[in-house]
């Protein structure tokens, strides 16, 4: 896998309403369910589902009641892979803060689209190819939303045939460039 593929995949894995918040809050809630749930203000069943997905992706390890020697010790711990993903999550958070348009990563494909544009993949089919398995419908919706928020610029190119070409806007270019470099340094 190339560095670019890795970075795009990392950005995609870190999307969703709760993925980044959980990775960033796990350790300061002592790895325990209740403090984490209170800190994130998330429904318990929802948190369980999300933790299950993160365990399946091997980003966190769920300790069995027998492995926990004391009820105050962590129920969940970040794996080595999870620690790497947390670094990436922090990089995404700080770029979101610089952009100032909220938690872009809460919606699937937002951040990967921006990063793909930073890699100069400007045409729809090209973005779609590097971000597979994204569906054309979702990709087109995200491009519209990002365009609406002025995070990307859309221009018409004549060559080789008339089509839209997307680019990062002045608002997003610098933060996404930094983000790409940060994610890339984690490979």
């Amino acid at each position: 896998m190339s560095k670019e593929q890795f970075v795009l995949q990392l950005a995609q894995r870190l999307s969703g309403r709760w993925t980044i918040p959980i990775l960033l809050s796990l350790e300061n809630s002592g790895g325990r369910f209740t403090p984490l749930q209170r800190q994130l203000d998330i429904a318990p069943a929802r948190l369980s589902d999300n933790l299950k997905q993160l365990s399946d992706a091997e980003l966190i390890h769920h300790l069995t009641p027998l492995e926990r020697r004391h009820p105050l010790l962590p129920e969940y711990k970040l794996t080595e892979k999870g620690k790497l993903y947390r670094e990436a999550a922090q990089a995404i958070r700080s770029s979101e803060a610089r952009i100032g348009h909220g938690a872009l990563s809460a919606k699937a494909w937002n951040v990967p689209v921006l990063v793909a544009l930073n890699y100069q993949h400007g045409r729809f089919q090209e973005i779609r190819r590097v971000l597979q398995p994204v569906t054309p419908r979702i990709l087109s919706a995200r491009l519209d939303e990002l365009h609406g928020e002025e995070l990307i610029v859309r221009e018409i190119a004549d060559q080789p045939r008339p089509s839209f070409v997307y680019e990062l806007s002045s608002l997003s270019a610098k933060p996404i460039e930094t983000l790409t470099a940060d994610l890339s340094s984690l490979v």
């Binding site: 209740t34 403090p35 129920e75």
Partner: protein, 120 residues
């Protein structure tokens, strides 16, 4: 090496439900309660002996019992039964040694009452 003091810790599903049981039914006093962290401790009526609770997503009922000494086991059992504490089985007697009664807390952690029949 040791100083006087003894703590038993349990993982529980809900701190509030647990504290209601240990204070209202067993009559112990809350020593400390932090709802944000889902943890609490109660004082037993033995100096330095406390029970701690911490919320967990998955709780395995503990089979090793914490045993509380009582003066009159029949009396204690019927008092707790009036408070809807359910006991498993009848009072068991180990001749000339001890009388035991087994019950459980809301998470199924095994607890017992014991009346000594002889001076140790």
């Amino acid at each position: 090496m040791f100083v006087p003091g003894f703590t038993v810790w349990y993982s529980v599903k809900s701190i509030e439900r647990t504290l209601a049981f240990y204070t209202e039914k067993l009559g112990f006093e809350v020593l400390f309660h932090n709802p944000e962290w889902g943890m609490a401790m109660v004082k037993t009526n033995t100096e330095g002996c406390v029970i701690g609770f911490s919320e967990a997503e998955t709780v395995e009922p503990s089979t090793s019992s914490t045993v509380f000494d009582v003066a009159d086991i029949e009396d204690a059992v019927s008092k707790l039964k009036r408070l809807d504490v359910s006991f498993s089985g009848e009072i068991e007697v180990i001749d000339d040694f001890v009388k035991l009664a087994t019950f459980a807390d809301p998470d199924g952690h095994s607890l017992m009452l014991s009346e000594q029949l002889t001076e140790l």
